[in-house]
Amino acid sequence: MISRDTVLSKIRRSLGVTGAETERRAAVTDRLQRAPAGVIPKRGQVGRAEQQALFTDMAEKVQASVARVASPADIPEAVADYLRGRNLPLSLKMGSDERLNALPFAEKTPFLEIALGASDGGDLVGLSHAFAGIAETGTVVLESGPDNPSTLNFLPDTHIVVVRAQDIEGDYETMLAKVRDRYGKGVMPRTVNMITGPSRSGDIEQTLLLGAHGPRDLHILVVGP
């Protein structure tokens, strides 16, 4: 506590303030309460269909692959198709997300081996359900928790992410508003991952290489009409 008070009093001395000024306190409370939006790029301020097209375009530009399915019932086959196309084993790991667990894997793709839970590093494929997509940058947004454990976003070589078309928003700000709606003002899930393409590094002679420590492949399934 001594360091804390020393640091704060040094800051106050430099700024020439006491910390008790009503005006300063009000300014801080106001900003934290209002959370003003600032400049939002026009790029994402378009209709739903254009937002979804922009999302796909931006995600593909950063080496994610994107496929569209009409309804959740089509997801199991879309997943199996993707794995076959990549010559990957027909097995994956996912969390307890109800939307994923309600999918007709047993009827449509009984050959697909599904394990539940966090990743221990031994899984080749992870399947997650995104909280939202962001058209502006082709980003998927995932929240931590038993439904979609964060380790699935990073340890498997291949990450498949389901995002509902209606959850694709134009910009960061709309996504943040959704987080607030869901968790309450000033509250966050333990981890929110904004993921834009597969893992990469440019650390060797500035050459872009995919699959640094996280997934080598990011496949996004956009669900909905």
Partner: protein, 479 residues
């Protein structure tokens, strides 16, 4: 780490003659600059976002005490711990204590300039805790026992064949005959070696790009995913961040994020932007059981309210060094400490003293490219000038330089005498240099002519030419 900033001149001379380094530096000059320009060109709102980002940080810095208090309360609410550290030494001691309590033998680290600043790795190693850098670039320089030479591309001075040699030297458990020709083979090898380290680590240490007061969240921005594996796999996550990382709201983070990646690597967005708030929640099946934030001052509070406050807006994107002709020529190590390039030339004297780092603010041509690309609109050249002034005031600059300035000032304060003497000097030099048009050596100008010829003046002074051309300017010139 050992500070070699006082030897900047000899460092720079050695760097200019280092062929490996010169080859590596050519990557900076091309890649980063072109990619940034393209990304900026794709976003019409970029300049407006720079203004917004600058204003957010200015507001935050002038209310920093209050935002820190708000942030601290929020971290506690979410079950995390906040530790304040006045000095580098305090921060190291706090981190060590957390590691000891966790019974840590190895810690993984996400890329963090602040832990370089406090020399955390050496300290942990001296206390029998093995620090493992996990960012590919940081891992490479850790193997080479070197400091980073760039704030976002720490191994930018290293070439591929050097990385291969280092991997062969250190990864002795792997087949000697393996092919490491391709960069992708090097990456795969590092991925495999580090994967085991990630899973075995007891504590994960990361920096933070932002600390969000609204929610008590730390934010990291990475491309590899190593920072995330560092913070979700071990049972303890320690964030080390300096006071100026505080950002009021999530929206404010969004504004700055939009200029950060574009300025740094020319990406519209980095691959992973991760918001972490507190430890594992009830029901969670992964994530750290403990979450600590160490907030470091280390001299920054003294910058507030003064001529260096603007430097605290810096978001460590590296655009200034990517665009700096001096950095392009000598690389990052010549600067002799943690922070190179223009941002280092301003920050380093603050942190280690202008007596040691006085050369850095002088290592600038004042071309202004750094300021023109800085996403936070930090007036870097102006602040380098402030340091030069302080150096002069404290009599730290060399006697010959001081004498030269005094002579110049004597004339500059007497405009007539100044014009007369420059006219005589320019005329004399023009006459003497008529044959070759340049001088290979001149008295009092050895600092220049030792490295290149001085072009001979054409004859008239600027003022004389300006006057002579008055009629061309329709009479609207100086009187």
């Amino acid at each position: 780490m050992q500070i070699t900033s006082p030897q900047f001149k000899s460092n720079a001379a050695a760097a200019l003659g280092d062929r490996q380094l010169q080859r590596a530096l050519s990557n900076v000059e091309k890649g980063f600059v072109e990619k940034r320009a393209a990304a900026v060109g794709r976003l019409p709102e970029f300049e407006a976002l720079r203004d917004a980002a600058r204003d957010i940080k200015n507001h935050t810095l002038s209310h920093l005490d209050l935002y820190l208090e708000a942030y601290e309360a929020k971290v506690r609410e979410s079950g995390g711990h906040v530790h304040f550290a006045e000095t580098a030494e305090d921060a190291r001691a706090i981190v060590l204590e957390i590691c000891r309590k966790a019974g840590a033998r190895t810690v993984t680290k996400g890329k963090s300039m602040i832990t370089e600043e406090i020399g955390l790795n050496d300290f942990l190693a001296a206390n029998d805790i093995e620090p493992v850098e996990t960012d590919l670039g940081e891992y490479i320089i850790q193997l080479r026992k070197e400091p980073p030479s760039h704030i976002i591309a720490p191994a930018v001075h290293v070439n591929k064949d050097q990385v291969e040699a280092d991997f062969r030297r250190v990864h002795t458990h792997l087949d000697e005959g393996r092919n490491l020709e391709e960069p992708s083979a090097l990456l795969s090898e590092a991925r495999g070696v580090l994967r085991a380290k990630f899973l075995a680590a007891d504590v994960g240490i990361t920096g933070a790009n932002f600390l969000v007061a609204e929610t008590g969240t730390s934010v990291i921005v990475t491309n590899e995913g190593n920072g995330d594996l560092t913070q979700i796999l071990p049972k303890v996550h320690v964030v080390v961040a300096s006071i100026e990382k505080i950002t009021p709201t999530l929206e404010d983070v969004g504004q700055i994020l939009r200029v950060l990646a574009r300025s740094a690597t020319g990406q519209d967005s980095s691959v992973y932007t991760t918001f972490s708030t507190g430890p594992r929640r009830p029901g969670d099946v992964d994530g750290p059981e403990e979450y600590h934030v160490v907030i470091l001052d280390n001299g920054r509070s003294a910058m507030l309210g003064g001529e260096f406050q603007d430097m605290l807006r810096c978001i460590r994107c590296g655009a200034c060094m990517n665009h700096c002709p001096v950095y392009h020529a000598v690389g990052g190590h010549a600067y002799g400490w943690v922070y190179p390039g223009p941002m280092g030339a301003v920050l380093t004297p603050t942190l280690i003293g202008v007596d040691k780092a006085g050369h850095l603010p002088n290592a600038s041509t004042f071309c202004g490219r750094c300021e023109s690309v800085c996403p936070m609109r930090i007036p870097l050249p102006k602040m380098m000038r402030h340091w030069r002034e302080r150096e002069f005031e404290r009599h730290l600059s060399p006697a010959t330089q001081r004498l030269g300035l005094a002579v110049w000032a004597f004339f500059a304060k007497r405009p007539r005498l100044y014009r007369l003497s420059t006219r005589i000097a320019a005329g004399a030099l023009a006459m003497l240099g008529r044959g070759k048009g340049r001088f290979a050596s001149l008295p009092f100008a050895g600092g220049w002519t030792a490295h290149r010829d001085l072009p001979a003046p054409q004859g008239g002074t600027f003022m004389a030419q300006w006057k002579a051309r008055a009629p061309e300017r329709n009479g609207s010139g100086v009187r």
